[in-house]
């Protein structure tokens, strides 16, 4: 089986644990000379740690990106909301009989202007993970998103979506309530909007579940996030009938932010702090906020109908094909 993010970061974590222990020892040390020696050692370890982190994260392969994008300590949607926005009121309800906690959203203020936020939400502890269905959104999540998109249009609020899902829920219940229709309808609704929309892939951009809330005027990716038509494990299982060849599939699928930018499928890569967003939430949040403000600022220049056309044109040109004679 492939490594998890935790396993992959183990040497680093051991180093960091060592530093913490040394610091405790140093704090208790009464002898100034010994303390000085300890502190020098700590500084040395920290330098080594920093260099290690830098090297480790400076050239992540596709599979390492997958691991980082899925890291448990990465900031999630509600963490970004908390850090970036004010007056957020989370609104539930698909108005159809069901409720989904894998997609959250509601109105909030961004530097004094109203915006509508919608994002996938993963859980951090086991109870919350179950509540949030491990980030696999259900039909009712997309239908809630549609309600919020409609409200944004009605009240002339820009839409911000944060994408972070392994994929949409594919279970029997989700199927019976029309997960496919719900995703399609959410994409459809996003294309109706005449208010600006900005989407940011903050972690996992998992196939249909991701694009369901990512049909925006601007689509950005955090440096170590991924965006893919299929989970690498699923791809490996189909291609080679070996789900554990996820690393090979990740490479073949070209699911990194760099590849997405190269194929002109996203507009910008938002840099992460050294060592990844999970190592420095404030910097990650500040970078995301800066990117939102920049792109909203540009989109503010466009009229409602230009916003609509801009979004259409953005996706209209996507695809790589040959058309020999035209037609």
């Amino acid at each position: 089986m492939s490594k998890t993010h935790k396993e992959w970061e183990r040497p680093l974590n051991e180093l960091e644990d060592g530093i913490i222990k040394l610091k405790e020892v140093s704090k208790k040390e009464k002898d100034p000379q010994k303390r000085e020696a300890l502190e020098a050692k700590i500084a040395d370890y920290e330098t080594r740690r920093d260099r290690y982190v830098e090297v480790m994260y400076s050239n992540l392969g596709a599979w390492e990106k997958v691991l980082v994008a899925r890291a448990e300590k990465r900031p999630y949607t509600l963490d970004y909301i908390q850090a970036i926005f004010h007056n957020y009121v989370e609104l539930q309800g698909d108005r159809n009989g069901f409720v989904d906690h894998a997609i959250v959203g509601g109105p909030a203020m961004l530097d004094g202007r109203p915006v509508m936020i919608v994002g996938h939400q993963k859980g951090r502890n086991i109870q919350e993970r179950q509540l949030r269905n491990f980030g696999y959104a259900r039909p009712e999540g997309y239908r809630k998103a549609i309600r919020l998109f409609e409200m944004a249009e009605r009240f002339r609020m820009p839409v911000i979506t944060l994408v972070d899902t392994p994929g949409a829920d594919a279970g029997v219940e989700a199927e019976s309530r029309g997960i496919s229709e719900a995703i399609a309808a959410a994409i459809f609704k996003m294309f109706e909007l005449t208010v600006p929309s900005v989407s940011i892939v903050i972690g996992e951009g998992g196939s249909g579940g991701a694009i369901g809330i990512a049909a925006s005027n601007r689509v950005l990716m955090l440096e170590h996030s991924i965006y893919s038509v299929i989970a690498p494990e699923g791809c490996a299982s189909i291609l080679w009938r070996q789900a554990d060849r996820g690393a090979d599939a990740a490479k073949a699928l070209k699911l990194t932010a760099n590849s997405a930018l190269e194929f002109e499928l996203i507009d910008e890569i938002i840099p992460e702090p050294i060592g990844g967003a999970h190592r420095d939430w404030p910097t990650a949040c500040a970078n995301v906020k800066g990117a939102i403000l920049k792109h909203l600022g540009e989109l503010d220049q466009l009229s409602p109908s230009a916003i609509y056309e801009d979004r259409y044109a953005r996706f209209r040109k996507m695809g790589v094909y040959e058309d020999i004679f035209g037609s």
Binding site: Y136, A168, D169, A170, G171, V172, E173, A174, E175, S176, R177, G178, I179, S180, E181, I183, A184, A185, I187, F188, F191, E192, S207, G208, A210, I211, G212, A214, A215, Y227, S228, V229, I230, G234, C235, I238, L239, A252, L253, K254, L255, S259, A260, F263, L265, R311, Y312, F315, R316, M318, G319, V320, Y321, E322, D323, I324, F325, G326, S327
Partner: protein
């Protein structure tokens, strides 16, 4: 389950579903629907066009559009070349214009035999053009779907076809032009979760496989038991996703009624 009627001794076939032996002439006259069990066998795009639209009315467009291999995905170039060779077409989707009882329509018809009807860049472009032509001319759009989903080998480019085709459907809707999608066996995943499911009217052939994920995935993901008719057209109908199950021999008439009523205002220039 294979959906292909097997060739038996000269002039006979075996139904893929009930395994009964069918006289080939009867089978063809019955539009490749088993006379014993009603099983709707898959059709090629050309056959579907022939039995659905006014005789000789179909004009193919976009026929030279073909996918490339931008990701240099393992084995993709070979698979694609083989499909092109075997099916004598560049993509699973055949698009163009046609007429129904004299009324003009913009159409696309999928052929599952071409790489499982998967939606890559070429496929998405052809669907998009079909819907754009409808929006521009005011002629209703009709798309026959048959697809396993997005084409994995084109990576994120394929996922974006979901957005692109859905955007084109929205444009059609905004222009007040009807879009009818017809599910045929199978209509799955990325195709089902995009343009196919936001048509104004959704029809389906009986018993077509219709679902978001492979059955194995659904079983893993779910907790409850799997209903007998799970991921069939009938299941979709009973769960509000499909408007009508239409037998193949009734399809043309049903489409004509819908084009006349829903397309009435636009077609009369009102």
């Amino acid at each position: 389950m294979s959906n292909k009627a097997l060739n038996k001794p000269e002039g006979f076939l075996q139904c893929a579903n009930c395994k009964k032996i069918i006289f080939s002439v009867d089978f063809e006259q019955n539009l490749r629907v088993c006379p014993y069990c009603g099983h709707h066998h898959r059709l090629s795009a050309s056959h579907r066009i022939e039995i659905t639209f006014d005789a000789g009315s179909f004009v193919e467009l976009d026929q030279d559009i073909r996918s490339l291999n931008p990701l240099e995905f393992p084995e993709y170039a070979e698979k694609l070349a083989a499909a092109i060779e075997k099916q004598d077409a560049y993509d699973s989707m055949t698009s163009g214009t046609a007429a129904l009882d004299g009324l003009p329509v913009s159409v696309a018809v999928a052929d599952f035999h071409f790489m499982g009807g998967s939606m890559g860049s070429a496929n998405g472009e052809k669907i998009t053009r079909t819907l754009e032509r409808a929006a521009e001319t005011g002629h209703p759009a009709i798309i026959f779907c048959a697809s396993g989903g997005a084409r994995m080998q084109e990576g994120l480019l394929s996922l974006m076809q979901m957005a692109k085709t859905t955007a084109a459907a929205q444009r059609c809707s905004r222009a007040g032009v009807p879009f009818i999608s017809v599910f045929t066996d199978p209509t799955m995943a990325g195709v089902l979760a995009s343009y196919a499911s936001i048509a104004d009217v959704i029809l389906s052939e009986p018993k077509a496989l219709v679902g978001f994920a492979g059955l194995r995935v659904s079983k893993q993901a779910g907790v409850g038991k799997v209903p007998d008719d799970f991921q069939t057209a009938e299941f979709g109908y009973n769960h509000g996703m499909i408007d009508r199950i239409v037998a193949r021999k009734e399809m043309r008439t049903t489409l004509i009624h819908l084009v006349k009523t829903l397309g009435g205002a636009k077609l009369n220039g009102k």
